[in-house]
């Protein structure tokens, strides 16, 4: 009986390993974005994004909760469509990109509900500080693309406090936190 259980378990592990497909975030075609928005004085949203990032994930339709993702962001690529502000954001008052050229997210768990919403947990490194975060995920869709590939896409949002990551520049009481908005499309390897 016990042998049987072990065999089933082993089989299921093997099968998930076989089944879980590996995906590369479509950076080439840029069907992905890492954006952020932060309140400006509390009167409007200032949007920006990171133009350069890379990542891979595993995803298996029949066992989505086994999915794993790792994304690396080149902090130098911060872009808010304003040369002087971007220079300021790269400086040691904010991202300090000389010292911390990379930001990273490594997932630890994933849970996708029936309705396509889910929760992705993992460790987020920014400005040299690593903290656990939870990203609210929305499954968007998957299927064959017209060029012989297979794609799947998600959207994720999360909110982080700048001070948690040692970014202490005072932008006012309304701007202590920022929202990250991730749009990810993966192409199956």
């Amino acid at each position: 009986m016990k042998v049987f259980q072990v065999a089933i378990l082993a089989l299921s592990i093997v099968s998930t390993n076989i089944m879980a497909d590996e995906y590369v975030i479509d950076k080439k075609g840029m069907h992905a974005s890492i954006q952020f928005k932060i309140a400006h004085l509390g009167y409007s949203w200032l949007w920006g994004r990171f133009n350069d990032f890379d990542g891979e994930f595993t995803y298996d339709k029949s066992n989505p909760n086994a999915s794993k993702i790792e994304v690396t962001i080149n902090t130098k690529s911060v872009d808010s469509n304003h040369a002087e502000r971007d220079k300021h954001l790269r400086s040691d008052e904010f991202l300090d990109v000389e010292k911390f050229p990379q930001s990273k997210f490594v997932s630890t768990s994933f849970m996708l509900n029936e309705d396509g919403t889910g929760e992705l947990k993992g460790n987020f490194t920014l400005h040299g500080v690593t903290k656990p975060i939870t990203i609210a995920v929305k499954y968007i869709g998957e299927g064959d693309d017209p060029w012989g590939g297979y794609r799947v896409g998600f959207e994720g949002t999360t909110r982080i406090a700048l001070a948690d990551y040692g970014i202490l520049k005072n932008l006012g009481p309304a701007s202590k936190e920022l929202d990250l908005i991730l749009s990810i499309e993966g192409v199956r390897k």
């Binding site: 130098k76 690529s77 469509n81 304003h82 040369a83 002087e84 971007d86 220079k87 520049k169 006012g172």
Partner: protein, 188 residues
């Protein structure tokens, strides 16, 4: 009163442009240091860089005029009392001022226009962006702008010390002749 320079005197144009640029450049240096450390909620957070850029463009225009002027006018001869090393050091300092100013003006322009945005010149005209050479343009230009400005500040101190040395120790005409045109002596 001579408008143009003569063999032993600076004319009104050289004198005016020297002092106007001197005041603007010192002001820009101080404003530059002040503005980069302003608090986000400071009243001057947006205004200080705006003035810095407008006056910076003004200095750029004056610099171009000055270079054309200097090339096309007589340079008053060094005083007889100057030692040859003094003349050499002064020449190097003066040429360095031109080169540094040129570098500072261009690099400043390249910071603000790095992403294609124009620079507003006193709400009068927008000076458009021309060059976008790299993703790190604003950072590289910013480094150069700052370093060149500090070198220039050091040379400025040297320039002022030399002036005082000539005026108070050597008691010669160095300072006086850049303050106003020298009356022609004898029958020249």
């Amino acid at each position: 009163m001579n408008i143009a320079n003569t063999k032993n005197s600076y004319g009104i144009i050289s004198i005016l442009i020297h002092w106007i640029m001197a005041v603007l450049i010192v002001g820009l240096f101080i404003l530059g240091i002040y503005m980069v450390d302003l608090d986000y909620y400071s009243k001057w957070y947006n205004a200080a860089p705006w003035w810095h850029k407008s006056f910076g463009l003004l200095v750029s225009a004056l610099l171009l005029f000055r270079i054309v002027w200097v090339i096309n006018t007589i340079r008053p001869a060094p005083l007889d009392s100057y030692k040859s090393w003094e003349i050499k050091v002064a020449r190097i300092t003066h040429y360095s001022f031109y080169i540094l100013l040129f570098v500072i003006c261009i690099s400043g322009y390249l910071i603000s226009t790095a992403k294609g945005a124009a620079i507003e010149f006193f709400s009068l005209i927008d000076v458009p962006a021309i060059i976008s050479f790299s993703k790190q343009q604003a950072d590289i230009a910013g480094e150069i702008h700052e370093i060149a400005a500090y070198i220039m500040a050091f040379l400025f101190l040297l320039h002022v010390c030399a002036t005082f040395k000539h005026h108070f120790i050597d008691k010669d005409m160095t300072l006086l002749r850049i303050l106003k045109p020298v009356k022609p002596e004898g029958d020249e």
